[in-house]
């Protein structure tokens, strides 16, 4: 099939500018970048229809090769309206972010930072604990944090009761 250089080039510029803007921190530019990328994608779908042709309105004197391929057009039509709904949603997000934090910027996720900075050492797995030698007295050498907890079973209480009776 024939390649339309203008369309290819325009698509390239749309994608390049779109990607460049999406990678910015300004939310407005990110939204604009998404629009530009969707423009580029739309052009790509358009190109799959091949050479230009007649508008796809059926007329008796035209054969099916004469029309510009209607299938990509149907796909594009839905894509365009969906992109609009998506942009409206993203704008609402931008506004919300502005209302809540007076921010028009993508900020780094502090939770990710915290995860990245945490040490490998995990007391649950890596602390040295002595082997326990009984199940009934709170453990031979349970770590301090756990020794503070009351024994979960009331065996000790029962034992004391029995001793008192004896």
């Amino acid at each position: 099939m024939t390649v339309n250089l203008t369309l290819v080039l325009v698509m390239g510029v749309m994608l390049a500018t779109g990607v460049y803007m999406v990678l910015e921190r300004s939310l407005t530019r990110v939204v604009l970048g998404v629009i530009l990328i969707s423009n580029g994608a739309n052009l790509m779908i358009l190109m799959s229809g091949g050479r230009a042709g007649e508008a796809p309105l059926v007329r008796d004197y035209l054969s099916s090769e004469d029309y510009f391929d209607p299938l990509p057009q149907a796909l594009l039509l839905t894509a365009i309206v969906i992109a609009f709904a998506l942009v409206a949603f993203m704008l609402a997000l931008v506004y919300r972010s502005w209302v809540i934090g007076r921010q028009d910027e993508v900020v780094d996720d502090p939770e990710d930072r915290r995860v990245a900075a945490q040490p490998v050492y995990d007391p649950e797995e890596d602390s040295e604990i002595p082997t326990e030698t009984t199940e009934f007295d709170g453990g031979g050498g349970a770590p301090t944090e756990e020794a503070a907890e009351p024994a979960p079973d009331s065996r000790r209480a029962r034992r004391e009761r029995r001793e008192g009776r004896d």
Binding site: L23, E24, A55, I80, F84, A92, E125, G139
Partner: protein, 1008 residues
């Protein structure tokens, strides 16, 4: 047998409720259920099992009892159960010991223990899953039950979840046995694939014929599963740690369940696969190593429960060796030893549990004098430990004799390495004798401390309950009885041993008995006793020697080191890749999206295709439009101000609409033009409260890398687009669309007929997506409710809407201007717009109001025309809806939010809901008249004046689309328009100064 299995699981599910009602006596019920199941299985199936041909598959009338229900026939997976002699013996052990463990639990747990209900359920289900393992004939079923025991063992070991030791042990057991289990699954599936069946009975029947590297490797994988489950070296460390579980669990785990599953697997596979290349080296090598390591470690322990735990490790090595040997005698010996071990080990654990329960001490350096004070415990322990040591006249001795005999005949027949094995087994048995003696001494002897003073007697809190003693007593009794009367055991095992041949033709077949005469084997036994006794006598010296020898390899330490290594790796990976910056993630994603397709292109089949032809453009105008679009894109990147960038992007959109039109797509051009116009308005509405300048802080270096990535991505996509267009070889599917559209869809506009008829499901999905997005917008702005019913127009004071400015905000010339506007606004005259008067005069534009008044109805009419005519000419629901939406945008911009309310009285949600309902009805109605979903119907009308028309039902679908799109735009206007107006006005009133600088330049002029 399926009934028994189902009943056991059903009981385990209701146990928590029963426990809630009955409390601790629930364990009696569970013991009863286990006992009943055992008796039922024995009475119902024993005769038919013993008389059956053990090798016969499922369905063979001579075979053992079986039950098969289809599950996934296409994968060869079924609920297949088969009860042969081996399964029978294992079932008796599992259910019998299970009943006694339950009985023991009834005294082990305090009456007030609340967490014991779920525990009882887990322990009971654990036994049921073990029963499932041994009766499964399908490898998938067996694997499922196998993994159920793994998960339940995790819960049981971690019963004392408040203790870090229990949590850690539980996790460790889970990881180790899971690793083995998954390896085993691969092995099982592989073996099943090679044998052509997922049935164990078929696999075993096919086993001897299978040979080759594949079988050898698959069997290794299966054995890894068995080794990990049975805690053989190098996986042995999880079992001693698993004693963090309550003692009844340990007793069950070590004696009859979990670890015995691995031995069972070896015994199950031995008939068919003991001749594969790696079977004997693995089974004997790892078995012997485990036996020696376990026994050696057992000698060092000071916790009597740990002595037993390492003893189990040692015995498991022993069991795997003998069960894997693969001769007729070894099979008898292996199963007999398995039973003997189950009996004495369960009893010994229960004794330890009683001591721990009553005194709170398990340290053999502290325990003292129990032999004098607790006679029943002493007798039980002496008999069971003697059985463990292999002393007559006990069942442990009977089993060990035939084990020795099997190894000895193997060594005599095959020589070589088997002699090493024989010697190793004898050495390990000496160690076993020594640790058995040490266990008895450590638990019951009266001891002296280092100064020679007699230790204080260990005191029990009270007399030991008879029920508490019953379970170990019964087990001990069985140890004695079966020594003198091994006939029933032998009768149960012998059908299984028939699956093996003798070690060589004519070799003598052994039998279970206390007395085989004066044989070399008896001499070996005597040798182990003498050496073992000597070791016990010299225990101080041995302990001192053990102190001096450092542990060369500590498997648990290596395990923890590897877990820590994995942790460190994942931590490093996470901190490198998860920086928290969205741009960073996008950068990575886009970089992959750039590189990956290029790699695919390089490996494309038949070389990179070259396009048939290049053209610069379809016509010169395309180039002009292209230049505009490119300029818009670059302008958007460079624009310093927010709205300038928005305008530049809008320019791109308009240019592309032109390109679409030139290409031959009028519908697209129309739709895109409308969308771009609305997007411009929406952008302005949403962002008017934000500062004008675009605030960016990104550094130059990142600008460069972003530019490189952007250009690289674009070039890759351009190449890809050119390439895929060139590579196309099929004719387009849409070649059929013109006639389909006309004859089936009854419309001349192919694109529209495609949307509402040919590919109507796509459109239907899209409409719902639009409704969802609009709802998302509304929920982000309104937060609580959408479309709050506002005051009606007549309630609004004139000139109150919008930011009402005072004269100080304006320059003198502007003040004069505003005064003029105010004087006009108060003139009592019929208004152009219903709510125009509500706006503050400084925001009104008389020209705009007049134009809106003139255009609004025309635009709405045009939108209806586009909707209805779209079936045959450019237009349709989308274009029509957008056009109508634009009319409402005009009303809102000219007259403010009350004008919008007056123009559209329905809620946006209602509009979209109605649209979706219409679309649904169009889809469903054909079903009632015998058609398919979304089938279209039409009526030919010949009306005077209007001429001939075909009314098509799918146009109604387009009405639904129209309503949804109008709803979307109204929703967006009410959210991003009216609601934000309201909020900024309130904000201005509340803080008269705050935000003034921000709003002054942006919002003041917007309403114009």
């Amino acid at each position: 047998m399926l009934t028994v299995l189902a009943a056991l699981f059903a009981v385990s599910i209701v146990v928590p409720w029963i426990y809630h009602r009955l409390g601790r006596p629930t364990f009696f019920v569970l013991a009863g259920v286990n006992l009943a199941a055992m008796i039922y299985v024995a009475v119902t199936y024993l005769p038919s099992v013993l008389s059956a041909d053990q090798g016969a598959g499922v369905g063979d009338p001579r075979g053992p009892p079986s039950a098969v229900y289809e599950w996934l026939p296409e994968f060869g997976v079924s609920f297949a159960f088969r009860l042969d002699a081996l399964s029978m013996v294992m079932s008796m052990l599992i259910l019998g010991v299970g009943a006694l463990v339950m009985l023991y639990c009834a005294r082990y747990f305090a009456a007030s223990e609340r967490a014991a209900g779920p525990f009882a359920a887990q322990l009971f289900a654990f036994g049921a899953a073990m029963f499932g393992i041994v009766i499964s004939d399908d490898i998938i079923m067996m694997f499922i039950f196998w993994e159920i025991t793994t998960v339940l063992s995790f819960l049981l070991i971690g019963y004392s979840a408040h203790r870090i030791f229990a949590r850690r042990s539980a996790t460790q057991a889970l990881i180790v046995t899971k690793l083995g289990g998954l390896t085993m699954l691969v092995g099982l599936l592989w073996v099943g694939e090679l044998a052509g069946s997922n049935r164990l009975s078929d696999i075993m029947a096919a086993g001897p014929e299978l040979s080759g590297t594949q079988v050898d490797l698959a069997v290794i994988l299966v054995l890894v599963g068995a080794l990990s489950k049975s805690a053989l070296v190098p996986f042995h460390f999880w079992l001693p740690a698993a004693m963090a579980a309550p003692t009844p669990v340990s007793a069950y785990l070590h004696a009859a369940a979990m670890v015995k599953a691995g031995v069972y697997l070896v015994a199950r596979f031995a008939p068919g696969f003991h001749e594969t290349s790696f079977w004997l080296p693995i089974v004997l090598g790892f078995g012997l190593a485990t036996m020696l390591v376990g026994a050696y470690r057992a000698l060092r322990q000071t916790d009597i429960k740990l002595v037993l735990a390492y003893g189990t490790v040692s015995q498991l090595g022993f069991l795997v060796m003998i069960n894997g040997l693969g001769t007729e005698n070894a099979a008898l010996a292996g199963i007999a030893m398995l039973l003997a071990h189950g009996l004495f080990k369960a009893a010994l654990f229960m004794v330890v549990g009683i001591i721990d329960h009553e005194s709170g001490v398990r340290d053999l350096r502290v325990l003292s004098g129990l032999g004098r004070t607790q006679r029943p415990l002493l007798w039980i322990s002496v008999i069971s430990a003697a059985s463990m040591a292999g002393l007559p006249p006990l069942f442990g001795f009977v089993a060990k004799e035939v084990v020795f005999e099997s190894f000895f005949e193997a060594a005599e027949t095959d020589g070589g390495w088997f002699w090493v094995v024989m010697v190793g087994v004898v050495v390990a048995s000496v160690l076993t004798f020594a640790y058995s003696a040490r266990f008895l001494w450590g638990t019951f002897a009266t001891k002296r401390d280092d100064e020679g003073a007699v230790l204080e007697d260990t005191r029990f809190h009270g007399p030991v309950d008879l029920v508490f003693l019953a379970a170990p007593a019964v087990l001990t009794l069985a140890t004695v009885v079966f020594a003198f009367w091994p006939a029933p055991i032998e009768a149960m095992i012998s059908p299984y041993t028939d699956l093996f041949g003798p070690i060589e033709p004519g070799a003598s077949i052994t039998y279970l008995a206390l007395w085989h005469g004066f044989t070399i084997v008896l001499g070996l036994s005597a040798l182990t006793w003498v050496l073992g006794a000597l070791m016990f006598v010299g225990r101080r010296g041995i302990a001192a020697a053990q102190e001096r020898v450092p542990a060369l390899v500590d498997a648990e330490r290596s395990y923890r080191a590897s877990i820590r290594g994995i942790d460190a790796f994942s931590q490093a990976l996470t901190s490198r890749t998860q920086s928290g910056s969205l741009g960073h993630y996008l950068f990575i994603i886009l970089a992959v999206a750039t590189v990956l397709p290029l790699v695919a292109v390089i490996y494309v089949k038949g070389g990179i295709p070259t396009p048939d032809a290049w053209i610069i453009a379809e016509e010169p105008l395309q180039v002009v439009l292209g230049v505009i679009v490119v300029a818009g894109g670059i302008g958007a990147v460079l624009a310093p101000k927010r709205f300038m960038a928005v305008l530049m992007v809008g320019l791109c959109g308009y240019g592309i609409a032109g390109l679409l039109g030139l290409q031959g797509a009028p519908d697209l051009a129309l739709t895109l033009l409308l969308v771009e116009s609305i997007i411009l308005v929406v952008f302005v509405l949403a962002l008017r409260t934000l500062p004008a300048g675009i605030w960016t802080r990104s550094r130059t270096s990142s600008k460069l890398s972003r530019a490189v990535l952007a250009v690289g991505f674009a070039l890759a996509m351009m190449g890809l687009a050119a390439l895929s267009v060139s590579a196309r070889s099929e004719r387009p599917v849409s070649e059929e669309y013109p006639w389909m559209s006309l004859d089936i869809g009854h419309g001349a506009n192919i694109v529209n007929v495609t949307l509402v008829d040919i590919r109507v499901w796509d459109t239907f999905g899209e409409v719902t997506v639009i409704a969802a997005a609009a709802t998302g917008v509304a929920s982000l702005i309104f937060v609580k409710r959408r479309d709050v019913r506002r005051l009606t127009v007549k309630d609004i004071p004139t000139g109150s809407v919008g930011r009402v400015l005072t004269d100080e905000n304006f320059s003198p010339s502007q003040v004069r201007e505003i005064r003029a506007a105010r004087s006009f606004a108060t003139v009592a005259r019929e208004a152009w717009l219903v709510a125009g008067r509500t706006l503050a005069p400084e925001h009104r534009s008389i020209i705009f109001e007049v134009v809106t008044r003139l255009l609004f109805h025309a635009i709405v009419l045009l939108s209806v025309y586009l909707l209805l005519a779209g079936h045959n000419t450019p237009g349709g629901g989308f274009a029509g809806g957008l056009m109508a939406g634009l009319a409402f945008v005009l009303r809102y911009l000219a007259g403010g939010r009350y004008e919008l309310e007056a123009a559209m009285r329905f809620s946006a949600g209602g509009l979209m809901g109605a649209g979706i309902v219409v679309a649904c009805v169009v889809g469903i109605v054909p079903l009632f008249v015998g058609g398919e979903v979304f089938q279209s119907y039409y009526v030919d009308l010949d009306l005077p004046l209007f001429g001939e028309h075909a009314l098509v039902s799918s146009v109604l679908f387009d009405v639904g689309v129209y309503l949804v799109v109008v709803g979307l735009i109204v929703d967006v206007l009410r959210s991003l328009g009216s609601e934000i107006d309201l909020r900024s006005e309130e904000e201005n009133r509340d803080t008269s100064d705050y935000g003034h600088g921000v709003h002054a330049e942006t919002s003041a002029g917007v309403a114009r």
